[in-house]
Symmetry: C2
């Protein structure tokens, strides 16, 4: 085996970076371990043909999968620590949207070769976030090929209590966590920096120079998305419907409205914009990003108006901003207004096989 890891065998590679990591500690003395679960519910972790897991009593299993492809979901050359973080965060975000408690993950890692330095940073990003969310890595597969990461997240909700997209009722308010558009702006600045061109036709390259602090913050928002797991748990029982904003509000809101059999209306002037985004670009551009750019991983929720303050208080306890942006009505379709006038977003969100705005085509 070479010191640079170029000759690292698959099993040695897995052992070094994943099995030995505290967050992936399976019952190692498997020959003699009893069939009882650790506090994490892991009865049998990495190292057998499959993991064996115990759900808490009176819960249902919640499962999601998300894939990241280099050059598609993050630019080629992205820091592996960000990639490791993102691969787990986008899946945690799906569980947050269900009001579920994350518990276990499996990782399918396809990479061009076994690069020890890359793996070390990838594992650091992945496991730091896993620890913070009580997630244990229980299975994986490493394969040589073009850099592609697929994480499956497994968690649980009390029986019958999962938050769905479909539970909203006419008259419910629409609310979003955090601020919107930051990740889309961060991506555009990243691509501008790398010379790969802005993601928008008249993107940051054409704008007035943005303050460095703002650019750094926006890029951080793209590189290290925060899944709103704790807020998802708090919203369960208050919100009537929820989903995460991975493809942009303009692309995602119609899905929630349709699933609930309702129409939605949003006042674009209400969209929460960060100080960084406002400092970096024009208000018009900021609103377009907040509407149409993906990768924010904030939560979109429907909540009965009388319970909005309750949801707001739950967000405040987590030091999280919550903003009411519109409402759900009888009917179908999504309408937008800006200060009382009809408004048409420039694009309708990210579609991996369509012509969404934030596609990375480097």
């Amino acid at each position: 085996m070479n010191a640079d890891g170029s000759d690292l065998g698959e099993f040695e590679l897995i052992r070094r970076y994943f099995l030995q990591h505290p967050a992936a500690r399976a019952p190692r003395d498997a020959a003699h371990c009893a069939a009882s679960a650790a506090p994490s519910g892991v009865i049998l972790g990495i190292g057998d043909d499959a993991a064996v897991l115990a759900l808490p009593p009176d819960t249902e299993l919640v499962a999601a999968v998300d894939t990241l492809v280099a050059g598609r979901h993050f630019p080629h050359g992205t820091d592996a620590r960000s990639i490791g973080h993102r691969a787990l965060a986008v899946n945690l975000s799906d569980l947050a949207a269900m009001g579920a408690t994350p518990a276990w993950a499996t990782l399918a890692l396809t990479m061009p070769g076994a690069d020890a330095a890359w793996l070390e940073r990838f594992a650091a990003g992945f496991f730091h976030l896993a620890h913070a969310n009580g997630v244990e890595l229980v299975g994986g597969d490493t394969v040589r090929g073009p850099l592609t990461l697929s994480v499956q997240i497994l968690g649980h909700v009390p029986r019958g209590r999962a938050l769905r997209r479909s539970g909203a009722r006419a008259g419910d308010l629409l609310a979003v966590t955090g601020t919107l558009g930051d990740a889309g702006a961060g991506l555009a600045f990243t691509l501008g920096d790398t010379g790969a061109g802005p993601a928008f036709p008249d993107g940051p390259a054409a704008a007035a120079p943005a303050p460095p602090f703002a650019v750094r913050e926006l890029i951080r928002r793209f590189d290290y998305p925060e899944a709103r797991v704790q807020f998802g748990l708090a919203a369960r029982g208050i919100a009537t419907a929820a989903m995460d904003l991975s493809d942009g509000l303009a692309g995602d809101l119609p899905k929630l409205a349709q699933a609930s059999g309702l129409a939605a209306h949003v006042g674009v002037e209400h969209l929460p914009l960060s100080d960084a985004l406002r400092a970096a670009v024009s208000l018009e551009r900021a609103r377009e990003w907040a509407l149409s750019a993906g990768d924010d991983y904030e939560l979109l929720l429907a909540v009965p108006a009388p319970r909005y303050t309750e949801l707001e208080a739950a967000a405040a306890r987590l030091n999280l901003r919550l903003t009411s942006i519109g409402e759900l009505r009888a009917g179908s379709g999504v309408t937008w207004s800006l200060n009382g006038k009809d408004f048409a977003p420039l694009s309708s969100g990210f579609d991996h096989f369509g012509r969404g705005t934030t596609q990375i085509t480097v």
Copy 2:
């Protein structure tokens, strides 16, 4: 949208080929569905941020993930029906090795573009096998990129009853299902046919012409691996340890021996060889493939000698061959003999980042 599907949006694509398929029937009227599970345990299927699933009472969750990369696990240009079958079969095989009942799957599909004809054949291969095994597709992710498929399979075992690699005891017999080496031979013939060169230095290109019926059968074994799910269920409670042979006996057996803290010995003359393999190549070559080639997805089991006939009867009821090939002993390491003489396999099995024999490097 073009008739050839080249302009197919992601969501339309998913809807057409996966959501509408009977095996992926989620509660579609989600706005009004009660929080009760279908017979399949699917409370909420495709179409929300995550699936919600109900395990049967007194069971544990069993989870595995396997990734397939074009040009790595199957040659470029492989029939999409075979790819769809394989993506699920290799995961079913992991559950078979645990003695688990498969129930749900998620699919992460990365593909260069939305090709309707390809997707139709892929879905046919995937869902045919899913139906046959009672598996429902409950989640997925489609992304544009180099062809890569990651399936996560979820199933269950009665509490504390999972078959592990680690349960074998000294004196247990080693047994394998079916015949070995067929898939490796099939792959070699496929690559020879495509002009990509044989996978072995003195592969079929250098051998005497093989009968067409045998070549067809061997290629079928590679293209459509059969997961031994029913036998895995039957072996639970009889076998003391099990694993599936995905990387070849010479590569996989050491893992079972090590997990059980034992030494293993195999008499190479006992390895079960198919008529097709014997007709296609020399006995020596057939044995090398049976030892070292991957992709057979047969089960390797440890069974107490007094219970071997019981396991054999279980196999016979499924019309499946079971062969005793050696035994487990106190100690460590794996030894091989051929007609009483020490024997050294030419290679030690498949390693995606090493120099295994069956790597596809086209």
